[in-house]
Subunit: 389 residues, 2 copies
């Protein structure tokens, strides 16, 4: 094999696929990256795979001789990222392939030799029958993932909750994630373009599936390199799914099991509501959170409708306490006190990217709903925490 | 006690003295900061002390009622740093002082109460008889510490080597630090100002002492707030020393025990020398260091005087190897090979702030001296590492 390529191309594609290389591999070969050089296409393809998540990426290169080899991801990244801008060549002698050849990595400054392992030992990415793809606009994916991913469970015993549930019904793409303490739902509407029919998306384009958070976090990073008006192709087959964006390709297993019917958890009638300046309440929470770790992360909200004021407070009995009050709009009568987990509340408020937010309340032990006053179609449900004095 | 001060003043002085608050205190009170408010002087003084290193800092404030209290450093820092710009008030009722009062911390946004402990329980900083001070120019201290501190030993069993040895002889201020593998010496010359006598510094101003690195690292940070043409006053007494810069005050124990006579370790005659571009050799070392951890951090230098070239190489047998060559000026005949600990070499090269560096060699097992071609008066001695093939 012999290839000559640009250091920047190699570095960027390598750092992308390396994100699927496990830090503690179950089999040594998985800590390597697969490199395939195709002379006919003048193209190099890199693959990382942890047996669940796989990332593959291709780029143009001058391929003087085809080949297939795996190289240790960590060292290859370390070497390539330290090389100066310009051309890099990678080569080994095909005759040495059986004996784990030293691959020569040459640049303007610095010559390296790095031990490779034959590509035959690298596991195949799961194949998927690419009959039909769902096209998902990048802007909708970015918005939906930003608004929901943080709410997914990290508890591996609740498998299906460790992912984000994605549903398309006609031109509405809906994202949902919950860990049992809070639920985030984002709806994005796809505008019909000129070429589409009136409804934009047809019935056959409807789907519903749950995707592991880990894969979606990598997809989020991949999207940052795409253009806003592009679309990602999603292929789904048996237990697997593939996202494709240009020459980048992310494969993951699906999460099996029925996702909770979360829409029925969201109340539609409320006794009182409060409209707040999102930045102001985040700043206040950041200050009072100084003491929050000391007592179950509990922050108390005391609504004072007579003065249109809310008082945030955190108690850490032995140590001290923190209090902060500011103006809000309150609808509904009588004083009202409710407790929140400050971490869950902050994460929700940070994701609700609008200037003003509405808190919808019923009783002090019933779910609270946060929605932006305008813009993004997001619903954040948070369970209150009981206040014990 | 009641004080009103600016949030910025309180934050900056607090973060300075907190650096001497131990993270694992031997006595609970040491995790607190002592705050003394003096109504007569309208001044607030903060102190942190770990029984070895103490930092004290004063600033102007409106003191409505004098007082002395200690507050938990971590929480006080967390609170003050989150407050908005503007005025902050701290107060407690002197009647409550015996029962660990809640100190009220009020600002434009946010009201806190933080439990204090009476200042009587806080240990006194060691007193020092301030008969005569040595005046040390800030610029000389900055230069000397930058060039030597990194070479001090971290091995607590070699007490005297964990510090920097500071000597003044007339107008030369000399810094030295060694851990047995390398030695860094910086000489700074004090220019005589108009008011001084011809020699600038008199015999009585000569001294020689070893100062703990920890104290000097904090001094370095303190210096960054001073002006280059200012001087730091150093008081030395029994086992203690004090640095004073404006309202900032750093106290530390001295390191006892004779410091090695390092000047006799530095060879004066050499068989060969090599002049290198400092940036070029650092870049090369950074690249080949990819494999250095694999084999005792050993980097080989191969001098080729016929081609005025040096070849840097690192071997990691099973994994691969790295090689880099570039032009240098070599004086002395015959090829020559020598090994270095790459970490020690890099640290020295980074501290030698000149464009060109001279390596002075004798045999492959004898100390190597690095000096800048011009500028800073620094000598870096590094012991070679034996190359085993």
């Amino acid at each position: 094999m012999k290839i000559v390529c640009s250091q920047v191309d190699l570095k960027n594609n390598l750092s992308l696929v390396s994100r699927s290389v496990p830090s503690r591999p179950t089999h040594p070969i998985l800590s390597n990256v697969l490199l395939v050089a195709d002379k006919a296409k003048n193209c190099v393809t890199l693959t990382g795979f942890d047996l669940s998540l796989g990332i593959r990426s291709s780029f143009s290169a001058e391929v003087e001789e085809s080949g297939m080899i795996t190289l240790p991801s960590k060292f290859l990244n370390d070497i390539i990222s330290r090389l100066p801008d310009g051309e890099v060549s990678l080569s080994y002698d095909e005759e040495d392939l059986e004996d784990n050849p030293l691959v020569a990595i040459d640049s303007l400054s610095g010559k390296f030799q790095l031990r490779g392992v034959s590509g035959d030992e690298f596991p195949e990415l799961p194949t998927i029958e690419k009959k039909e793809s769902f096209l998902l606009p990048i802007s909708a994916l970015i918005e939906g993932l930003k608004g929901t991913l943080f709410s997914a469970s990290t508890d591996e015993t609740k498998q299906v909750l460790t992912g984000v549930h994605l549903t398309r019904h006609l031109n509405i793409l809906e994202f949902a994630a919950t860990d049992g303490h809070r639920l985030a739902v984002v709806k994005t509407t796809e505008e019909s373009s000129d070429e589409d029919t009136e409804t934009g998306v047809s019935d056959e384009q409807n789907f519903s599936l749950t995707i592991p958070s880990r894969a979606l976090r990598e997809l989020e990073k991949m999207l940052s390199s795409g253009k806003e008006n592009e679309a990602v192709a999603l292929y789904v087959d048996n237990g697997q799914l593939v996202f494709e964006l240009g020459n980048q390709h992310l494969t993951s297993r699906k999460l099996e099991g029925g996702y909770p019917n979360y829409n029925q958890l969201i109340p539609t009638k409320f006794e009182r509501k409060m409209i707040v300046d999102r930045k102001r309440v985040i700043e206040g929470l950041e200050r009072v959170s100084v003491f929050a770790d000391q007592k179950n992360n509990l922050v108390k909200f005391k609504l004072d409708p007579d003065n249109n004021q809310v008082i945030l407070s955190v108690e850490a009995k032995e140590l001290g306490n923190a209090k902060e009050s500011f103006s809000v709009e309150i609808y509904g009568d009588g004083a009202f006190e409710i407790g929140f987990n400050i971490k869950y509340l902050m994460e929700g408020l940070k994701a609700l990217s609008a200037n003003e937010i509405t808190f919808h309340f019923n009783g002090a032990t019933q779910p609270v709903i946060l929605t932006p006053l305008s813009g993004l179609q997001m619903t954040y449900l948070i369970m209150p925490v009981q206040i014990r004095d």
